[in-house]
């Protein structure tokens, strides 16, 4: 028999697939699901861009599978399974208990107490339980599922951004998303971040179609998609629905305003007046203060958590250990709190305040984060020029996540983790800003070679 014949290869591939499916059905199903997604995302790409896209995608998947494989191989045999993060225990055990309860498989009475515990409730638990009801308990398959969800989210965002902002910024953002260490870590875990980011990516794609849909039906469906995704986000994380709504409304409004220069100019002049007039209303003042105080209350709670923390309030609020003292905050104190919160969101942990070796390992990514912050203004300006709607949606979705996390944060580790909610939007704008800077620098230098490497959309050509 000729081993190189198509039949032999098909048989061998089938055998291999069968063996792998027996070992981990979820791995086969998830990787299989990525194939059509990648095919869809690669439509319309040039041959070179397609090679880059598939290369990055394959590398992203391979590195994640290697990480999960290493977790499996180096697991402590005295424990049922290994985790990257302590919080994963909740998702791995509780989802199996949930599945077993649903299937009528007896579980320990002690575990039954935690199955429906309010603490840590999210729809992610039910998704994992459902998946495991289909394919069996999958303590490491869940990691693969989440890795694929995250990669899928990156693909969806890439596809969303590319037509509007250009190929290079989209691909650079895609690479950032796939290989930024912190996002890489969350993506191989069983935490809810990957699913959240995927739903958020679908939501922002739908949001753009509310204004861009070719037919009325498409626009209605897009709106329904935003609502559904918002609901799903809310079921994954408190405030998800608000973030989706604010991001969509803000992004669409920004796009409409920026569509006409005169409208933008008038808005620029009128907006501060409206804002000041609104804030002078006692009812609005009370409402704003109530929300800021609530955020400060949450921040105070984070200060009391283990690990490294940072303070945002005036010192007197931390002196007597009374958390409720923040509820007496005056408007000026609240103003200082908000400013410090936004500044800390951008800078914490500053390199000279890093106190542990573990935190020191985070330094390279922190430098990248500072780069993202610095490139943002350039990305926003260039984005508005190229596609105000997509730029507005990215900016407003990111802004919502930034404000929510910045005002309530207080623990450095939690801040870094929750910055991941805004990063998927910010990295594309930063990548665009980087491309715009390169183009401007090249133009100023007057280098003909640099000029000639610019593509028709004003972005660097493919290397």
């Amino acid at each position: 028999m000729n081993l190189k014949s198509p039949v032999a290869i098909a048989v061998a591939a089938g055998l291999l697939l069968g063996v792998v499916y027996t070992l981990s059905p979820l791995t086969v199903l998830c990787l299989g699901a990525l194939v059509p997604l990648a095919g869809w995302a690669s439509r319309g790409l040039s041959a070179r861009e397609r090679r880059w896209f598939f290369g990055l995608l394959a590398l992203a998947i391979a590195l994640r599978l290697i990480a999960i494989g290493a977790l499996f191989l180096f697991a402590d045999p005295s424990q049922p399974y290994a985790n990257f993060f302590g919080d994963e225990e909740l998702f791995k055990s509780r989802t199996v208990w949930l599945r077993n309860t649903g299937l009528g498989i007896p579980i320990s009475p002690a575990d039954m107490i935690y199955v429906f515990d309010d603490v840590g409730q999210s729809s992610h638990l039910y998704l994992l339980a459902y998946v495991q009801a289909l394919v069996g308990a999958a303590p490491y398959g869940n990691n693969v599922l989440n890795a694929c969800l995250f990669v899928a989210a990156a693909v969806v965002l890439y596809r969303f951004v590319r037509p509007a902002l250009g190929g290079v910024p989209a691909l650079a953002g895609f690479a950032f998303l796939c290989f930024l260490p912190s996002l890489f870590s969350w993506s191989v875990s069983v935490l809810k971040e990957p699913l959240y980011i995927l739903v958020a990516a679908i939501e922002i794609s739908c949001a753009a179609q509310i204004l861009r849909g070719r037919t009325g039906l498409l626009r209605v469906l897009a709106f329904a998609g935003v609502v559904l995704c918002g609901y799903a986000l809310g079921s994954l994380r408190a405030g998800g629905m608000v973030l989706a709504a604010a991001g969509t409304i803000g992004g669409c409004a920004l796009a409409l305003i920026l569509a006409r220069p005169r409208r933008a100019l008038v808005s620029l002049m009128v907006a501060p007046i409206i804002l000041v007039a609104a804030l002078m209303q006692p009812r609005i003042q009370d409402r704003v203060m109530e929300n800021v105080r609530y955020a400060a209350f949450q921040h105070w709670g984070h200060i009391a958590t283990p690990g490294f923390t940072y303070e945002l309030l005036d010192p007197e609020f931390y002196v007597d250990g009374e958390r409720r003292s923040v509820l007496t905050m005056t408007p000026s104190q609240a103003g200082r709190f908000v400013i410090r919160a936004l500044a800390s969101y951008s800078t914490v942990p500053v390199p000279w305040q890093i106190e542990s070796r573990t935190a020191l390992a985070f330094l390279p990514e922190q430098i990248i984060w500072y780069g993202v912050i610095l490139l943002l203004p350039f990305g926003l300006m260039e984005g508005v020029r190229r596609d105000a709607l997509v730029t507005g949606l990215l900016a407003c979705h990111a802004l919502g996540a930034v404000i929510m996390v910045a005002l309530s944060g207080g623990n450095v580790g939690t801040l870094i983790r929750h910055r991941g909610l805004a990063l998927p939007y910010l990295v594309f704008l930063a990548a665009l800003g980087g491309c715009a800077l390169v183009r401007q620098m090249a133009a100023r230098a007057g280098a003909r070679s640099a000029e000639s490497s610019l593509g028709s959309t004003g972005e660097p050509a493919w290397p």
Partner: protein, 372 residues
């Protein structure tokens, strides 16, 4: 013939590349088996539980034996989760078990996900033998409508508590109500009556906090507690005043030296009876006679107690102190070789307070013994 010919065939028969692939595929089989043997988690199974029977008196530790036990496993006894799971080795684990109801239980082994092994009805908790004793409760049924009180007669049953032995004379209802620690008030309840009675009650001896207590209808029997009892006139409240053994009381002659202000002592009369709630029907102490009326003496020393806080707690404050020896006839009982009356020890040298409606005098016991 060349070993590998011009077309890459070994001995002219097999293609070298194909042979390598075949060797690789065949080589995968032991590799796969090795991986299976290395990574397969062998199934855990329970074999026995020791001890298989325990007496249900409290918490206990049991050992489960089996194969392939793991540190993260848990064991339950029916629906009762073992409090701990101390992994000793793959064949043994120790479990602390909280007190559970008597009965037979399945011993169930769980891993992190689900049940893995079960020993059916392998663990039995035996009920400890119940020790039941009879006591006489002296007290009164309170807050009973006057119209129905007549139905509570000697010989009536109070289900769950016992049988009425004797009843006294009904009087306007008074209930002893606890108003703060150590503050007991007797509060009248209008429109109803109280009926003193002696109830022969059966109560269960229960060990609690290192003490043996007597429990009936879920209530620890002791003076002043109220027991809610179903009866022929509906549910009634029986308030305990004294608890006595069922042995017939013996008439004791107790000689007491009472000490007090002269004016108080002058109130003593032969025939005075102590103000016990059951005085109307039970043999109660009485002043049989003043054995000797001691002339008033002045200058008798007054004893004082110094309490733990260092402050002085005078047991007697009187300006014109006198003593008076009296002989009391007391319905007492002998328990553990000692005489007692109404829950109070009667010992020579011990203190005794004699309370009537009119006065209360304190004294020390000079002698105690059966009445002649």
């Amino acid at each position: 013939m060349a070993i590998v010919d011009a077309e890459g065939r070994v001995f002219g028969r097999w293609n070298l590349l194909d042979a390598l692939v075949a060797v690789f595929v065949v080589g995968l089989i032991p590799l796969a088996y090795g991986a299976y043997a290395l990574f397969r988690a062998p199934a855990a199974q329970l074999a026995a539980v020791e001890p298989a029977k325990v007496l249900g008196t409290g918490n206990y530790q049991v050992t489960v034996r089996g194969i392939n036990l793991r540190p993260y496993m848990r064991v339950s006894f029916g629906d009762h989760q073992g409090r701990t799971y101390k992994f000793m080795d793959p064949t043994r684990a120790d479990i602390d078990v909280d007190a559970i109801e008597p009965g037979s239980y399945d011993v169930i082994l769980y891993d992190h996900a689900q049940e893995r092994s079960r020993l059916v009805q392998a663990f039995t908790v035996e009920a400890p033998a119940k020790a039941t004793v009879e006591v006489d409760l002296l007290g009164m049924v309170t807050n009973v409508p006057a119209a129905t009180i007549g139905r509570l007669t000697a010989g009536s049953d109070l289900p769950g508590l016992g049988q009425i032995q004797r009843v006294g004379k009904a009087s306007p209802s008074v209930t002893k109500v606890t108003m703060g620690a150590g503050r007991l008030f007797e509060l009248p309840v209008s429109g109803s009556v109280s009926l003193p009675m002696v109830v022969r009650a059966k109560c269960e001896l229960v060990a609690k906090n290192g003490f043996a207590i007597c429990v009936a209808l879920g209530v620890n029997l002791m003076p002043d507690v109220i027991v809610q009892v179903p009866s022929s006139v509906g549910t009634v409240f029986f308030q305990v005043d004294q608890i006595r053994t069922v042995a017939n009381p013996r008439q004791l002659e107790v000689r007491v030296r009472l000490v007090g202000d002269r004016e108080s002592l002058a109130r003593l009369r032969v025939g005075d009876r102590e103000d016990q709630s059951f005085a109307a029907i039970a043999p109660v102490p009485s002043v049989a006679a003043a054995a000797e009326t001691i002339p008033a003496q002045s200058g008798v020393s007054v004893s004082i107690n110094v309490n733990a806080q260092g402050s002085i707690d005078p047991i007697l404050a009187a300006g014109n102190v006198a003593t008076r020896d009296v002989t009391l006839l007391v319905p007492g009982e002998e328990t553990a070789g000692r005489w007692s009356y109404a829950g109070r020890d009667l010992q020579v040298g011990g203190q005794l307070t004699f309370k009537t409606q009119d006065y209360a005098l304190r004294g020390s016991v000079l002698s105690v013994g059966p009445a002649r």
